[in-house]
């Protein structure tokens, strides 16, 4: 279990003249579902990329509980296996939906029977079991989003990062995914961070809202 993430003096710059993410001190715990709200270009996705260890910060350090991760340190591979990150435009592999959702479990060496039962269950929960044998490259953008979220939640990550997870999904599906996220937070005790444009969504699911503006946390 990862019960808290702390970002200390994080600086991430993509281009010399471009946008800079600059976070002095931010602590996130698994007691809440954290929603990061902000306009386009405010640094929401960059923040998630840094927390997911996909990108290393130029400066500063991230603490996962008491374990420190800084750009100079190794040992990120083990931590990365505990973090599930759904990007804004997720990529699904050129294989059927079932196989796509099962990849994360295969990587974690789950047994075949358990893999099958977990995948079947989550496909039903997400109401996409009818797409099980369909090639993922033939799905609509809303279906892609659902499969991508299922692909992560199926292996029950300790940290769940969702970058605008319901951006391409209809209202009814949005509510059902929000319900699943809340349920997972309750049952798994995972640390969940979601970015969104929608303040309504922030109010519905968040117990801690973080505002980002021009790369800085804004109160």
């Amino acid at each position: 279990m990862i019960s808290s993430i702390r970002l200390k003096k994080i600086v991430k710059k993509y281009t010399p003249e471009g946008f800079t993410l600059c976070i002095n001190n931010l602590e996130l715990s698994n007691n809440h579902i954290h929603v990061v709200a902000g306009s386009n270009g405010s640094g929401k996705s960059t923040l998630l990329r840094v927390i997911s260890l996909l990108d290393s910060p130029d400066k500063g350090r991230i603490m996962f509980d008491n374990e420190c991760v800084s750009p100079e340190q190794n040992g990120q591979k083990r931590l990365r296996k505990k973090i599930g990150f759904v990007m804004q435009n997720p990529y699904l592999f050129n294989m059927n939906v079932f196989e796509n959702v099962a990849i994360g479990l295969k990587i974690r060496k789950y047994k075949r029977a358990e893999t099958v039962s977990r995948v079947k269950k989550i496909l039903v929960d997400f109401k996409i079991d009818h797409l099980s044998n369909q090639n993922a490259h033939k799905l609509s953008s809303g279906e892609v989003q659902k499969v991508a979220i299922a692909q992560i939640l199926v292996w029950e990550p300790k940290v769940i990062l969702l970058d605008e997870p319901t951006a391409n999904i209809d209202a009814q599906s949005t509510l059902s995914i929000e319900k699943i996220i809340k349920q997972i937070h309750k049952t798994l005790d995972s640390l969940i961070i979601i970015t969104t444009h929608s303040l309504d969504q922030a109010y519905r699911i968040s117990s801690n809202t973080i505002s980002l503006r021009e790369g800085k946390v804004f109160n």
């Binding site: 996909l54 591979k77 990365r80 990007m87 990529y91 592999f93 990849i103 994360g104 990587i107 974690r108």
Partner: protein, 228 residues
């Protein structure tokens, strides 16, 4: 007109009776081309991928070099390796001039830039998203690379087939480095050149038919996998 029809009849007879010389010629072509394209794939696909999605200084220049080398004339490759492998050349001691090994080296050099350039173009369109997606699912570098190349399988296949087409149908390298030795280095294209220069069209036509049929089967296979 008659000699063409007679040639065609004789060609079909050669094919159906499985003439010994005909089998040897086709065998040499297939053997050398397959080995050359396999080697070109082993080196060319990673090279093309690196230039296609790698982030390093001079990437554009490398891409231009690869694209330029795609149209490398076969006789230039033949001549270069002839001078290197001939007795007086720096690699003369190897004693492989006029052997299938020399043909394979020349064909490998011909196919390498083509395979790399095709991979580069395809992989550039695909981008690094499959690799990142695999990383986000917790895969290490090796597993992410395997998943990436699984995604790029059509690109890989197309590159290999394009390269195979190039080496299977070339004549310059085979003639200069293989020497067109009967039952040893004589392949389909050098044989067609020889037979037609002697006015013996039947074997040339038979080999031409086989050349076309193999190209057709390979493209059909590619189409089958792409439509799956």
């Amino acid at each position: 007109m008659n000699y063409i029809i007679d040639g065609l009849k004789e060609a079909l007879k050669i094919i159906f009776t499985m003439d010994k010389e005909f089998i040897s010629i086709v065998g040499v072509s297939l053997r050398t081309s397959f080995i050359a394209i396999l080697l070109a794939g082993i080196f060319g696909i990673p090279l093309g991928t690196w230039v296609g999605i790698g982030k390093f200084r001079g990437r554009g220049f490398m891409a231009t070099i690869l694209n330029t080398l795609v149209s490398l004339p076969t006789v230039v490759v033949g001549l270069t390796f002839y001078s290197l492998l001939s007795r007086r050349g720096p690699l003369g001691e190897l004693g492989i001039l006029f052997t299938p090994a020399a043909m394979i080296i020349g064909q490998f050099v011909l196919a390498l830039p083509l395979v790399a350039a095709f991979s580069m173009g395809g992989v550039r369109n695909l981008g690094d998203r499959p690799f990142i997606a695999a990383r986000l699912l917790g895969a290490g570098t090796l597993r992410s690379s395997i998943l990436f190349f699984k995604e790029a399988r059509f690109i890989v296949m197309t590159s290999m087939i394009a390269g195979f087409g190039r080496v299977f149908s070339e004549v310059g390298v085979s003639m200069m480095l293989g020497g067109n030795i009967r039952f040893y280095t004589r392949n389909i294209t050098t044989s067609i050149a020889l037979e037609s220069s002697r006015g013996a069209f039947s074997l040339g036509i038979a080999l031409g038919i086989i050349l076309l049929m193999i190209a057709f089967v390979i493209n059909l296979t590619l189409y089958y996998f792409q439509s799956k």
